[in-house]
């Protein structure tokens, strides 16, 4: 316990006074980029990037604002992907219902893991979330309906949104995903700027004091864990819909590592950090894919640099330079 308390917190929060200009500017820029995105890149690539960003934003809600490092977020991302894929392909549900089922399953999984894992702190917490995520991974490998390690669920139909909009059209799919994406980032912003979010930060910065102030710390932690898992599931579901498949890669622990990298590079505990970090990591993987195993080594090297010398991340760095909250 003593080690935990004396050590520097994961995020330095320089001031509590919110500077809304930064966020306003950020959202305006984001909306502009999202609207004009298809002019510069393939819609499907952008949807995949947005899915990962939603995933990373959900992860950051937990790490950045509650100080809880989950090393098993691939489980919720994968659950969202598999359940959404299964619901549209086998059950023939409409895409919006399929997504809801994916998100609900991820949230439920998050509830179970959250209840179990918050019994421990710090490193034990990380290891327990990792272990439970492995349980999900092995389940996906052995269960009959998931298609095993190699196949996964393939050729998933995108279906008709609300029964009218045909998502087979990449542009329609793009704007559907873009709407969900912008809403998700806004939700994260709202949550972190609500009284609930302030209590989370209090728990992150000094758990003992939050307890003595009378907050139900356990309930807050479980709630944010469920929210975070739900966002991860939403990202997974959207990704499965855009690429039309779900595979074991989505649940593998390497995916949990990737989402940490996205958050860390972008800036832990900032609203726009995971947006920047997620986009960079997905883009990097896309363009370096031909290097094969070297991509893993490069990602590892970025991890090392980020931890040793660039802990505040890109957006954290911008915050410091511009004085705006982002």
């Amino acid at each position: 316990m003593s080690v935990q308390d004396t050590s520097a917190s994961i995020v330095a929060s320089p001031s509590l006074a919110p500077s809304s200009h930064g966020y306003l500017f950020g959202f305006a820029l984001l909306a502009m980029v999202v609207l004009t995105g298809p002019l510069y890149a393939f819609p499907v690539f952008l949807i995949v990037a947005m899915s990962f960003i939603i995933f990373a934003s959900g992860f950051n809600l937990l790490l950045g604002f509650a100080g809880l490092l989950s090393f098993g977020h691939a489980a919720y991302f994968g659950a969202g992907a598999y359940l959404t894929a299964h619901s549209t392909k086998v059950l023939g549900l409409q895409p919006e219902f399929a997504l809801i089922i994916g998100v609900a399953t991820a949230a439920f999984l998050g509830l179970i893991v959250g209840v179990l894992a918050i019994r421990r702190n710090g490193i034990s917490f990380a290891m327990i979330t990792l272990g439970l995520a492995q349980l999900v991974f092995y389940y996906v490998l052995t269960a009959a309906w998931t298609g095993g390690a190699e196949n996964g669920i393939q050729s998933v139909p995108r279906g008709m949104l609300f029964g009218i909009i045909d998502l087979r059209n990449d542009t329609a799919m793009y704007y559907f995903a873009a709407t969900i994406f912008l809403l998700s980032i806004f939700v994260v912003y709202r949550v972190t700027h609500s009284p609930f979010g302030q209590v989370l930060k209090a728990i992150r910065d000094n758990e003992q004091r939050a307890i003595s102030l009378g907050y139900e710390v356990r309930a807050f932690k479980i709630t944010v864990f469920v929210m975070s898992a739900a966002l991860a599931g939403l990202g997974g579901g959207l990704k499965a819909m855009a690429l039309q498949f779900a595979t074991a890669t989505d649940v593998h622990w390497m995916m949990s590592g990737e989402v940490i990298l996205m958050t860390l590079v972008g800036g832990v505990g900032t609203v726009f950090g995971p947006v920047v970090g997620g986009f960079l990591v997905v883009t990097m993987q896309n363009y370096l894919a031909s290097l094969g195993a070297w991509v893993m080594a490069i990602q590892g090297a970025i991890f090392i640099v980020a931890v040793l010398v660039f802990r505040q991340g890109i957006v954290g760095f911008l915050e410091k330079r511009t004085g705006l909250k982002l």
Binding site: I123, L130, A293, A301, F303
Partner: protein
């Protein structure tokens, strides 16, 4: 002779295999527990250090003609040096920050090591012969016991016991514990805390490398051989009680056996059984089998 409808030979065979796996779990969990208990670092690079032990052992044989027995000494020494260098150059900068950064740094290092070796060797396994003196086995009447496997269990037990003894019962161990309990006080008493921490990390890495040398003749040597076992070892450390050496040893061997038994009775869950046990332990005893309640 049947047990619950399973031929006893099959059961004993799987239990023996489980015991071998358990020996590796125990060794890796021991290394993790030392590093975690004394440095408060969750050493994610441990699986890569184990894998490096096997690969270095293979390379020594391939390129220098150095066989199993010398490798049993040389490889852990190399592992110690690499570990100590990693601690000095990177990990030691993170002791004052949130322990989360220790996980993230070692995770990054693991990716680099595994990525580079994968680019170099690919993912297909390389073989390493069982040393002549340990080939063959004994017929116990009800089953065949390969000598090499018995040897692995023996070495693992020996290493676990002597490490436990060194840290819990000797004066060197006492200064190690003092340094981690209150490093300012230990420093005032003339203990070189920084060097001690480097030594501890090096020791953990050396044990992982030793496990790698032992693994080389049984499992196929490949750059990804440590990737999944490290997660199992983490789970075992949680089950045994974070940072307790006795707990990680007992839990390591025990879970190897449980896993072996599950392969006979209920093979579908054999990959998950360690994590299922982890969940049960967390529900019943959140601090682990041998953990202190406050940990």
């Amino acid at each position: 002779m049947d047990v619950l409808g399973i031929p006893i030979q099959a059961l004993l065979g799987q239990l023996l295999l489980g015991l071998i796996n358990g020996a590796f779990y125990a060794l890796l969990a021991l290394g993790l527990a030392i590093i975690f208990g004394l440095l408060n670092v969750a050493n994610f690079v441990h699986g890569a250090q184990y894998m490096l032990g096997a690969v270095i052992s293979w390379m020594l044989l391939q390129f220098a003609g150095i066989g199993f027995w010398p490798s049993l000494i040389i490889t852990p020494l190399i592992g110690f040096a690499l570990g100590a260098a990693l601690e000095r150059s990177m990990l030691s900068r993170l002791y004052e920050t949130d322990p989360i950064y220790g996980i993230l740094l070692t995770f990054g290092v693991a990716l680099v090591v595994q990525g580079v070796l994968r680019a170099q060797f690919g993912v297909s396994g390389m073989t390493y012969g069982i040393p002549d003196a340990l080939s063959g086995g004994w017929n116990l009447g009800f089953m065949f016991l390969p000598k090499y496997r018995a040897w692995v269990v023996l070495v693992a037990l020996l290493v676990c016991c002597s490490t436990w003894y060194a840290i819990e019962k000797t004066s060197l161990g006492a200064s190690v514990r003092a340094a981690t309990e209150n490093s300012a006080m230990a420093e005032a008493l003339g203990i070189n805390v920084a060097r001690l921490k480097t030594m501890i990390y090096g020791l953990g890495a050396a044990i992982a490398a030793l496990a790698g040398v032992l693994a080389a003749p049984i499992y196929s040597v490949s750059p990804l051989m440590g990737a999944d076992i490290v997660i199992i070892a983490f789970a075992i450390v949680v089950i045994g009680g974070m940072g307790t050496l006795l707990g990680s040893t007992v839990a390591g061997f025990g879970l190897g056996l449980v896993e072996g038994a599950s392969k006979v009775f209920y093979p579908q869950i054999s990959g998950m059984v360690v994590f299922i046990v982890m969940v049960v332990i967390l529900l019943v005893r959140p601090s682990g089998l041998f953990g202190r309640a406050s940990a």
